[in-house]
Amino acid sequence: MPGITREEVAHLARLSRLELGAEELDHLAAQLDDIIGAVARVAEVAADDIPPTSHPLPLTNVMRPDVVRPGLTPEEALSGAPAAEEQRFRVPRILGEE
């Protein structure tokens, strides 16, 4: 049975971009351990010779002619942005202090 440690949960939180508090980490570690223990059952039946199915439909790329057509105006595209400036999304700084 797999076990998931608190440190692994903290690592997952970083990967998931979630700033979890200490209490939340403890709570989630226990729950994720339970859930992962239960879902690990998939290994019981899925043998090597069974092909995986990732989607119920066969997917094909859909193309359209490369022509200009009406889209959202800049005002519409920016209408839900937390911050905008000069018709662009304004974001917090991307680079660190150093």
Binding site: L12, V42, V45, P56, G80
Partner: protein
């Protein structure tokens, strides 16, 4: 006007077309009903009274001009808050999107408007459609109209509750693991998950892209068929939309029959964890099918028992990827933008503040299942189980025309009972998940009340992909059988709100 809210969608459309009532009067009757009872139910997150009345006036004007009206023109509808609505708030039940007004309509929204359907508002749901009870909504739970201390199911609990409490004759839901059918079962209404790809997902905020499917919620099988027809069909804006004619579901609903049909009873959907009252009503439903002329065959689908574990690997994996878009940069909430924090820190602070517990749980689970070293053991194996389940369905549909089962193992449970026990909550979708993994069509319709608690029980009908009409043919026959037996629709027995 009281009786107006109890009309079916078909009756409402007919009354408007015949000039017995105006669309504005119908819309106003429903808005009055919402005003009177929704404080108890909390089916709606946003009521768009002005928009609804304007849409209704447009239908009345069209009729006055002598324009030909569509089969649902002027009929009110409640729309799950996962579909974008231009200029009208769309939150997905999350703080992350609080106050967001999309600049475009989902294809489903557009088709409803084109059909003259009057959208009353947006319905409550589990955050980003993750849940089986509508308790995970950031805006508070919805109550089950049969007993407001019980859950209405989820994630489309608001849509189902709006239908069951006569706050709308029609609603739209989405079904990723059972989110249309399970709430339908728990509220005594009809819910359909169309074949995957049968209804466009464009403008549907994605939870798990290979599983999500929009579909109709209604009080009768015919109403569901009329709505199905209005929203289904190929959409070039959705690359997973099926480019093939939509099965004639309305005709099937009008000519319901099971005579000569082979109906498979799924052996695996019974036993431990199933409420006695649910199994008793299901046994009666099978007996009714036999009386109506169907041949009953027991079918074994051995891999269905692995469907839930596979689902809880695949759906969170896709969710962890889909929800990465909520990064506080282009829309939605932003927390910590004080000049002190970097973009990466703002993302983490925002996602921590904006997502609820279940969403975080699933993002973490999906991140784990997709991470290096675990991918093959979890996600890869789950995809193989998906193959096995599809094969089980193929083998079953080689022997029978449709499959039947209870929709849920239990009736509606008390609000709060399973809130902090994810594994117990996940069991609510035990019978509905296989169809999402395989992409076929399924329906839930009411088959009576459980003896123990007097709450509704759902009968699930499952058909092969692209045979959605078969659901309606069987569903309509069963519905007529029950109507003859009960003398009135099941919802007539629901307590007054």
């Amino acid at each position: 006007m009281t009786e107006t809210i109890r009309w079916t969608a078909a009756e409402t459309a007919s009354a408007i077309a015949d000039g017995k009532v105006t669309a504005v009067e119908v819309a106003q009757a429903h808005l009055d009903r919402i005003e009177a009872v929704d404080a108890k139910v909390h089916a709606y997150l946003h009521v768009d009274a002005d928009g609804a009345l304007a849409a209704a006036r447009a239908v009345d004007d069209a009729r006055a001009r002598g324009d030909r009206l569509g089969p649902l023109a002027g009929v009110p509808l409640a729309l799950k808050d996962v579909f974008t609505t231009k200029g009208v708030p769309t939150t997905c039940g999350s703080r992350m999107l609080e106050g967001w007004r999309p600049p475009y309509d989902a294809t489903v929204t557009r088709r409803l408007k084109d059909a003259g359907v009057v959208i009353l508002g947006k319905t409550n749901m589990d955050e980003f459609a993750m849940g089986s009870s509508t308790e995970n909504s950031a805006y508070g739970p919805t109550g089950n109209p049969w007993d407001t201390t019980k859950v209405p199911g989820g994630s489309g609990g608001g849509s189902a509750a709006a239908i069951a409490s006569f706050q709308a004759p029609l609603a739209i839901g989405t079904d990723t693991g059972g989110s249309i059918r399970q709430p339908a079962a728990l509220t005594g209404t009809v819910g359909v998950k169309p074949t995957y790809g049968g209804v466009s997902r464009y403008g549907l905020v994605a939870f798990s892209s290979s599983l999500d499917q929009g579909g109709p919620c209604a009080r009768t099988v015919l109403d569901a068929a009329l709505l199905h027809e209005a929203i289904a069909g190929h959409d070039p804006l959705d690359s997973t939309s099926i480019d093939a004619p939509v099965p004639n579901v309305v005709e099937a609903a009008r000519s319901g029959s099971v005579r000569g049909l082979r109906v498979g009873v799924v052996k695996e959907f019974a036993g431990e964890g199933y409420q006695a009252g649910v199994l008793a009503r299901f046994a009666e439903a099978v007996e009714l099918l036999r009386e109506l002329g169907a041949e009953i065959v027991e079918i074994s689908c051995p891999n269905f028992t692995y469907a839930m574990p596979a689902y809880y690997l695949i759906a969170p994996s896709e969710a962890s990827s889909n929800l990465a878009r909520f990064d506080a940069m282009r829309y939605g909430l932003r927390v910590g933008d004080d000049g002190e924090h970097s973009a990466e820190e703002v993302m983490s602070l925002t996602r921590e503040a904006g997502f609820g517990a279940e969403v975080k749980r699933r993002i973490m689970l999906g991140t784990y299942a997709l991470s290096s070293g675990y991918y093959d053991a979890y996600y890869g194996q789950a995809q193989k189980v998906r193959t096995l389940i599809t094969r089980d369905f193929e083998a079953a549909f080689g022997q029978v025309d449709v499959l039947v089962s209870p929709t849920t193992p239990t009736t509606a449970f008390p609000i709060g009972e399973r809130a902090d026990d994810p594994m117990a909550m996940y069991l609510a979708d035990l019978c509905t998940i296989p169809s999402n993994l395989a992409g076929n069509a399924a329906m839930s319709l009411p088959c009576g009340l459980a003896d123990e608690d007097g709450l509704p029980v759902g009968l699930q009908i499952i058909a092969p992909a692209m045979a959605d009409d078969r659901l309606y043919r069987v569903g309509a026959a069963v519905e007529a059988g029950y109507l003859a037996r009960w003398g009135a629709p099941l919802l007539d027995r629901a307590p007054a709100l």
